[in-house]
């Protein structure tokens, strides 16, 4: 929030048609959405359990925020996708950020830096940032001069991680024949190499060159900030709506975040000509990496135990708990004699004026005669 983003929430149910057009979700993702007819679905219009975080935000922007030039939004949401084996979750959580209304490379840089900073703050430092460029890949596909249907199919395969198709088709074209292996094999921190590629791309279209320039602009900015990245064209996976720089972040081979630029999505969905970029952190793999909060309760936790359930004692317990909470303690109540393991303090309430304060850490006991004294013991 210190970066100026505002939280938004979108509905769990959305219309299927938001996700079906070319340039939104790939057919293989569509084949796994939970879709059904709503109670008023006699028109045949289907609804889905939100399969993606970004497209609903684009819808929200078009419907409600289009008047403001810039929108910087974040969300924590669940997304749903059918998973055949039953071993993975069909409901996954993600935390995402969308920066709408800015086409500048500075925006791409901002979301990349924001993603890495959040991970850093979560205590995850050993990350790998891989950069690709969807616009470059799509321009390359156009260079191959396939029919529209073949091009859509090839893009679908690339998004599934099958890059074989590109080398097969590309080998028939002599100019691209040289460029392709270099581009696809492009790995490592090599902004200089991208520049060399520009020289090699002499024969290609202006379209391809301008995408390449855009990639270089973002990369030089990242270089100027000493950001640690790897270029890996083939890291582009999953989302059809990306149009520019896109990135994947992983740690120990596990993908934990991904994002990119999607300038065509809002126009495609009937909004204005609005550029945008964003990313999502995948909460499920992250949860296992973030240090547990369990120990923290113990530092300031108090268990208030009523010796009996006499009205006077119960009332005193609740009064004491309220005073402790006002002091900032985490307080739980117990009237059934459960164990005190894990709590920093235990207070036995034996009467309105009789309390036993047990310090579990220092293993000390003390009897006191008023709530104020209890607060002094715990607070001191």
């Amino acid at each position: 929030m210190s970066w100026g983003y505002q939280e938004v929430r979108t509905p769990t149910l959305e219309y299927l048609h938001l996700f079906t057009a070319t340039g939104t979700l790939s057919p293989s993702m569509l084949s796994r959405v939970y879709s059904f007819l709503d109670w008023d679905g006699w028109s045949g219009e289907r609804v889905v359990l939100r399969p993606d975080g970004t497209i609903p935000i684009a819808r929200l922007y078009i419907d409600n925020l289009a008047r403001q030039e810039l929108a910087k939004l974040f969300y924590v949401t669940n997304v749903f996708a059918f998973e055949e084996t039953g071993r993975e979750n069909r409901e996954r959580w993600q935390c995402g950020v969308e920066f709408l209304g800015c086409a500048e490379p500075a925006a791409d840089m901002e979301i990349i830096l924001l993603a890495t900073e959040i991970l850093h703050k979560l205590g995850i430092d050993r990350i790998e940032l891989r950069l690709s460029h969807a616009g470059l890949v799509k321009a390359l596909l156009r260079e191959l001069k396939l029919s529209p249907a073949e091009e859509t199919k090839a893009l679908g395969q690339l998004l599934e991680g099958d890059w074989q198709i590109l080398t097969e088709v590309g080998s028939t074209s002599s100019e691209l024949g040289e460029l392709l292996p270099q581009l696809l094999g492009l790995k490592g921190k090599s902004s200089g190499f991208l520049k060399n590629l520009e020289v090699l791309s002499g024969q290609t279209s202006a379209d391809f060159k301008s995408e390449l320039n855009n990639f270089m602009d973002v990369i030089s900015l990242l270089d100027s900030l000493d950001c640690n990245y790897q270029i890996d064209i083939m890291s582009m996976q999953g989302f059809e709506y990306y149009t520019g720089v896109c990135f994947q972040i992983s740690t120990d081979g596990k993908r934990i975040a991904g994002g990119g630029r999607y300038d065509d999505l809002i126009p495609l969905m009937g909004g204005g000509n609005v550029s945008a970029c964003g990313f999502a952190l995948y909460a499920d793999p992250l949860m296992s990496l973030v240090p547990s909060e369990v120990g923290k309760v113990a530092e300031r936790g108090v268990l208030v135990k009523g010796e009996t359930t006499a009205p006077e004692i119960v009332k005193t317990c609740f009064d004491l708990a309220q005073s402790l909470r006002n002091m900032g303690c985490v307080v739980d109540l117990d009237f059934v004699g459960r164990g005190a393991a894990g709590w920093r303090w235990t207070i036995m309430v034996q009467g309105a004026r009789l309390f036993e304060v047990i310090d579990q850490v220092q293993n000390r006991r003390k009897e006191v005669a008023s709530i104020v004294e209890v607060l002094n013991e715990v607070g001191g």
Partner: protein
């Protein structure tokens, strides 16, 4: 699935030579005659498996442990997938329809039997202004797609990245909807000539189909199917080829395609086929609305009337409420049963009953097998509650009526098995309760069934879209037609 496991376990305890060890689901309808021929030829004949069969349960003439039941073709993949039947024979189209909707289905295609060949087409009317598939792919319309195969139709639309589309599932007669009441139809036909006779142009062949032998995956793993599968050896099937080519052409003579230009202000009326057709013919003749070509024998799905403003199509009564709700027809003669089934699913639908036409009376009843010791729904609820029938398997053509009835009666747990007719065949092996219509009760008695409740009496009714009755473009013609039919119904 739970219940299929239950059956699976019970059957695996049966030894091979006990009755009911292996169960085969056989098709009624289009594939029946050829399938019966083939089975007889390969030594797998079933007594009484013919077009006039009145009982659905069949015994093998050769293998005592093999039994069979006749189903609507569409029900067969589902019955085999859930494990109620080990093997089945049906068209590949229905297998794919199930598998594309439910990819985790445990169904195995064992063998292409080679007969009943045809194609699943995406087709448009020759007069609808669509002549090739690219116009559909690049067009920006919201396409209305009508199909008996909603899963395959949706899969087609998603794969082709249609920008916007709506799928209208129908029980039948998909060919008659384009161009006025749908843009595209996804339908089965033997060949393109057949489509042409419907006035349709094929845009894309989605799937070449023929009859298939299918099996439940777990049956294949756990049971001894050797003797039965050996009968289907490719050589034997090959020898039978000549016999199979004598397939009867079951579809009647060509239907009239668009007979005349429709006026923009036409009032669209849907008339029923099937059981409701004869009484509807009689009713219309009583009100002196002459519908040329709408008689029991005729197959004309586009009969003409004396009024140039009135356009008529003959469709399934099941499909009418949804079609009327979407404005594809202004009025329809359907049944109260199908109207309620629609309204229970879509409470805010604009379809309403405009006149009770009085004919076509049937009772909608809850039915159990006489083997089940219950006489009312309360006793059945108790059985489900104590786990004797858990979950209660409920088969019905009226899936929404059945669902509401069980909810209202607090029956739990239950699961619904949608069927496409001949539901009485499901009791007692494949379902515990039926929600069915019954005219005389004779069919139910013949199948040893007991009625435990009557939900309501259904009659033919005129239905319409309450938002369109006063439509100015139709110049009050809808309202006047309603008035004519209503008066006739009251007078009659």
């Amino acid at each position: 699935m739970k219940s299929s496991m239950k059956w699976g376990v019970e059957f695996s305890l049966l030894s091979k030579y006990q009755q009911g060890y292996l169960r085969l689901a056989l098709p009624k309808g289009r594939l029946l005659a050829v399938t019966a021929n083939l089975l007889a030829k390969i030594g797998l004949g079933f007594k009484g498996y013919n077009a006039r069969a009145r009982l659905y349960r069949l015994r093998s003439t050769r293998f005592s442990y093999l039994s069979a039941k006749m189903f609507q073709e569409k029900d067969i993949p589902v019955q085999v997938a859930v494990g109620n039947y080990d093997l089945g024979i049906c068209g590949l189209d229905w297998v794919e329809e199930l598998q594309v909707g439910y990819p985790a289905t445990t169904l195995v295609k064992v063998m292409d039997l080679g007969y009943g060949r045809g194609n699943l087409y995406v087709a448009a009317s020759g007069q609808g202004g669509i002549s090739n598939i690219d116009e559909v792919l690049t067009g920006r319309n919201s396409w209305r797609i009508v199909s008996e195969y909603p899963n395959l139709a949706e899969s087609f639309a998603l794969k082709q990245r249609l920008r916007s589309f709506r799928i209208f599932p129908v029980w039948g007669a998909a060919e008659v909807y384009p161009p006025e009441n749908a843009d595209l139809a996804v339908l089965w036909a033997r060949g393109e000539e057949r489509l042409a006779s419907y006035g349709l142009t094929p845009l894309k062949a989605l799937l070449a189909t023929s009859a298939f032998l299918i099996a439940n995956e777990r049956s294949l793993e756990a049971k001894d199917l050797n003797e039965i599968l050996a009968c289907f050896s490719p050589e034997v099937i090959g020898e039978s080829k000549s016999l199979l080519e004598t397939e009867a052409e079951v579809i009647g003579s060509s239907e009239a395609a668009l007979s005349r230009q429709q006026r923009a202000d036409s009032v669209w009326l849907a008339l029923p086929d099937g059981h409701q057709q004869p009484p509807t013919v009689e009713f219309l003749s009583r009100v002196r609305i002459n519908v040329e070509g709408y008689s029991e024998e005729g197959r004309n799905r586009r009969p003409s009337t004396d009024f140039d403003w009135l356009s008529v199509k003959v469709v399934r009564p099941q499909d009418m409420p949804l079609q009327v709700a979407n404005g594809n027809f202004d009025l329809a003669i359907s049944g109260k049963d199908w109207l309620l089934d629609h309204l229970y699913r879509f409470p805010s639908s604009p379809v309403a009953e405009l006149a009770d036409l009085g004919f076509g009376r049937v009772k909608i009843v809850a039915v159990v097998s006489k083997q089940l010791p219950v006489t009312n729904i309360g006793e059945l609820r108790q059985l489900a509650k104590v786990g004797r029938l858990s979950p209660l398997r409920v088969a019905s053509e009226y899936i929404n009526i059945a669902d509401k009835y069980l909810r209202d009666n607090r029956v739990s747990p239950y699961k619904l098995i949608p069927t496409w007719g001949a539901s009485e065949a499901f009791l007692p092996e494949d379902a515990d309760l039926l929600i069915e219509n019954s005219q005389t009760g004779r069919t139910l008695a013949r199948h040893n069934l007991r009625v435990i409740d009557t939900l309501f009496e259904s009659r033919a009714c005129l239905i319409g879209n309450i938002n369109n009755i006063d439509s100015p473009t139709k110049g009050g013609k809808v309202a006047s037609l309603i008035e004519i039919l209503r008066q006739a119904a009251e007078g009659g």
